[in-house]
Structures are given as C-alpha cells and as structure tokens.
C-alpha cells in the first residue's frame, strides 16, 4: 500500500469538521462531567437519606452501563416523551453525564482525604455548612484531585468517537466514513496522529499540574 497525499487533501475539510466536533464535545462534556460530578459527590455526603440514596443508585446505574447504550437511550428514547436534541448536544450530554459518575468518585476520594480535624475546626468556629464546604473542604479536596480529574479529560477524548453511533461525526467518525467510501487508510492515519497531538500535550500539562498541586 502506498501513501497517497491526495487522499489526505481530500479528507481535510471533513477532518476539520470532525476536529471541531471533537473539541466541542470534549469541552462541554468536561464542563458537565466536572460540575455534575461535584454535585453527586456532595449529595452523597448529605445527612438526608432521601438525597443520598437516589443519587447513589442513579450514579451506580450510569457508571455500570455502557456509554453507547446511554447515547442510544438519550437519542432515540428520551425524545418520545422529552426534549429531542441534536446529535452533538445528545453526545455532549451523554458524555458529560456518563463521566460525571466517575468524576464524582474522584471528588469523593478528595473529600475523604481532607482530615477530620478540618471539619472539627470548622465546627469549633461555628462556620455554616455552606462556608465549611466552599471555604475549607472543597478547596483542599479539589486541589488534590485535579490530576485525577484531568485523566478523565483524556479518557473522554478517547471515548468521544462513540458519538458517531448517533450521527455526531467526530474526527474518527469522519475518517471512518471517508475510508470506507474510498477504501483508503490515509484519513484514519491522520486522525490517529491528531489524537496524539491533542492527548500528549494534555498529559504533559497534567503531570506538571500534579507536581505543582499535590504536595
């Protein structure tokens, strides 16, 4: 098989569409995963059973079923009685929701890593619950888990091609379409390189953060 640059040229417009979609999905998916995960983690420490219990069941359920199933469900089943969303929006919601159940575990570990003495000092000073969380516990907990959270950004990047199943063509989805139509492999190779180009600097950045934040 000979490498043919003209296939690369032909693929480029599709490639950039795919890159745009991948980055959008990654950015907004991460936003959802990071914020929703925090909500789950805090809810699971609630003193109220009726908050703790449903959240635990829901997050366990999401974490233990495949992302692909959730994407299909959101795209084909939810619109039957709820909002119908574009493939990209569905992909973002699915990715964010799915990985929020993982980031919640990360936050949970971070929160549990804050020594009891910090809670006790907050009580001794009569700090409100809200203040105890926002000023004392979360700044310490989140700092510790930023590298672990960052790992999920890379994992989400690598899982984002699953969105192609509901018609949101990320860069891999585009390459697959092109390659199957033309029986060539150049497009797939370009995308492989693109994944590395995005993921590798991200891992380096994470390692730097880890060294600076976790002391």
């Amino acid at each position: 098989m000979n490498w043919n640059w003209s296939h690369v040229d032909d693929f480029m417009p599709l490639f950039w569409d795919g890159v745009e979609l991948t980055l959008k999905a990654l950015f907004f998916g991460t936003l959802i995963a990071f914020s929703l995960g925090l909500v789950w983690a805090i809810a699971q420490r609630s003193e109220k059973k009726w908050i703790r219990w449903p959240v635990t069941v829901f997050t366990e359920f999401i974490r233990n079923t495949p992302l692909l199933v959730q994407l299909f469900f959101l795209f084909y089943v939810v619109p039957e009685w709820g909002p119908s969303m574009s493939p990209l929006t569905t992909g973002i919601v699915g990715l964010g929701l799915h990985y929020s159940t993982y980031t919640s575990e990360v936050y949970r570990a971070g929160i549990e890593g804050v020594p009891d003495g910090q809670w006790e000092a907050a009580t001794a000073l009569s700090l409100s619950k809200r203040r105890t969380w926002t000023a004392v516990i979360l700044p310490q907990a989140v700092r510790r888990v930023i590298p672990a959270l960052g790992n999920y950004v890379i994992i989400m990047l690598k899982e984002s091609p699953q969105m192609a199943a509901i018609g949101a063509l990320d860069m891999l989805g585009q390459a697959q379409g092109y390659s199957q139509a033309t029986f060539t492999y150049e497009a797939i190779s370009v995308v492989g390189v693109a994944f590395i180009v995005i993921a590798y600097p991200a891992s380096v950045l994470l390692r730097v953060l880890e060294r600076r934040l976790v002391r």
Binding site: P115, G117, T123, A124, L125, S126, S128
Partner: protein
C-alpha cells in the same frame, strides 16, 4: 435566644450558682459497649481556669469534645451559661437541640486542638478572620484589625501573609489560639495543645497561654500533661479516673497533698 423564664418550672434546673458557666448534669457517653462517661456531674464557674488531669482513656478529651459539640452525649444535659447546649426549650419542655440552637450556644465556646487544624488553603490572617466575618458578621476591616491585634498578642504580628505550612508547629499553634480568641468566646477549650510540638517550641505556646490566662477573664478548660503549667494557671484541678471526677481542688492541694490514692499514683507517674 434567651429562655422564657415564665415557662421554666418544668425544666429540670440544677441548683445554679450565679456565676456558673458550664454544667454537666448526669452526662453519659458511650462508644459501643464502652461507657466512657457515666452520669458525670461537674461545673465550671465563669472566669475560672480549670485543668483536667487523669490517666489516658479517662475521658478528658471526650468532655471537651462534648462541649464543642463534636460528639453528642447519650444521656444527660450540658449547659453553657443560661442555655442548654444539648437541648432547647420548646413550650416549656426540653427537647433535643436543633442545629440553629446549637450554633448559637456554641459561639460562646472556642477550642484549640492538639494538631492545630489550621486551614492550609488560607493565609494566616484569613484563618483568623474567616469566622468573625462569616459567622459574627464583622466587616473585613474590623476582623482584620482584631486579627492583627491577636497576632501581636501571640507574637506573630509579622506573619499575616504566611501560609500555615510555612510556619513551625509552635507558630501554627499560636495562630490557632489567635483564631479561637477572635470569636471572643466565653470559654476556651485546650486539649493537650503542646503535645504535638517539638520540646523547644512548647515554652513559647505555654507563655502565650499564661499571658491570656493572667490578663483576660476568659474561662479556660484545659487538658494538659504539663503539670507546672497547670499549677501556674489553674484555679482548680479536676482529677479524672474512668470518666468520674475523683478529686478536685486548688493546684496546691492536688499537687502537694492529694487525698486520693489514684491521684497520688497518677502524679508520681507523670511528675
């Protein structure tokens, strides 16, 4: 906050000496099947400095933690000033205290911990101003002025902008003392506040506490193994054994002519 006195007949009210600030009444605390405090009664008069001594496991820390509401008693009542810490009065009946009531009463109590427990994510000044601003509602300026005065008092006026991790243990503990005092509590609880320190740092912290004991009218409840310090600042020493006060008196009496055999054994072991 103030209790309605017309409904107070139904409330079990232990004979109250006007100046009494803390009263434990038949307080029981169990951990599983281990009864740590068994119907403990004791009281502390306002402005007094009281030291709790006794063997390891006798329940000294538990008493301070009960007062700080870090643990709940299984039975009995604890009163701080005119209010129950553990209960509140509703329609003339004593019911277990709600969160809001506990917070109000607890504002009168401050605590310094063995492990300092400063907030590592905040600079020294903010460690001290956080609660006065968000709990007492002081303005930032007022709180900072108060904090700076207290830092001067503990000899750290120049370390406002340091993070706790940049300070020695002794300095951290002095910041923790300033942090507790910034809330202007009526009672200061001190649980072995020098036992996590390197020996050469102990004296600095004890000097600060001596100073506070001798120059303020704050009530102190103090657990310590530093007997010379206890002798120096205490008006009263309580000897605990197995969750009971077995002997109490002035430091002169307890340290020089203890009545109880257990006290004598304990003192000869630690002195």
């Amino acid at each position: 906050m103030s209790a309605d006195s017309s409904t107070s007949q139904e409330i079990p009210n232990p004979a109250v000496d006007g100046s009494e600030l803390i009263r434990f009444d038949k307080v029981v605390k169990r951990y599983g099947s281990n009864t740590v405090l068994d119907e403990l009664d004791f009281s502390v008069a306002s402005g007094k400095h009281v030291t709790l001594i006794g063997p390891s496991g006798s329940g000294k820390t538990t008493i301070l933690r009960l007062l700080m509401t870090l643990v709940k008693p299984d039975e009995g009542t604890i009163k701080v000033g005119d209010n129950y810490l553990t209960h509140e009065e509703r329609n003339g009946k004593l019911v277990p205290a709600g969160e809001k009531h506990v917070r109000e009463v607890r504002k009168n109590i401050g605590m310094v911990f063995q492990q300092f427990n400063l907030f590592p994510n905040m600079k020294v000044l903010r460690n001290i101003t956080e609660a006065p601003v968000t709990v007492l509602g002081l303005s930032k300026d007022e709180a900072e002025q108060r904090a700076r005065e207290l830092l001067d008092l503990v000899g750290l006026g120049d370390r406002c902008d340091a993070y706790p991790s940049q300070l020695s243990g002794g300095q951290q503990q002095r910041v923790a003392i300033a942090r507790a005092l910034a809330m202007r509590p009526q009672v200061l609880l001190l649980d072995e506040v020098t036992s996590a320190l390197d020996p050469e740092l102990v004296a600095g912290v004890l000097d600060v506490l001596r100073d506070i004991a001798h120059t303020t009218d704050i009530t102190m409840l103090c657990v310590t193994h530093e007997m010379s310090f206890a002798r120096d600042i205490s008006d009263q020493v309580l000897m605990f054994d197995s969750g009971r006060v077995i002997e109490s008196g002035t430091p002169e009496k307890i340290f020089t002519e203890p009545e109880h055999e257990r006290t004598r054994e304990f003192l000869s072991a630690v002195l």
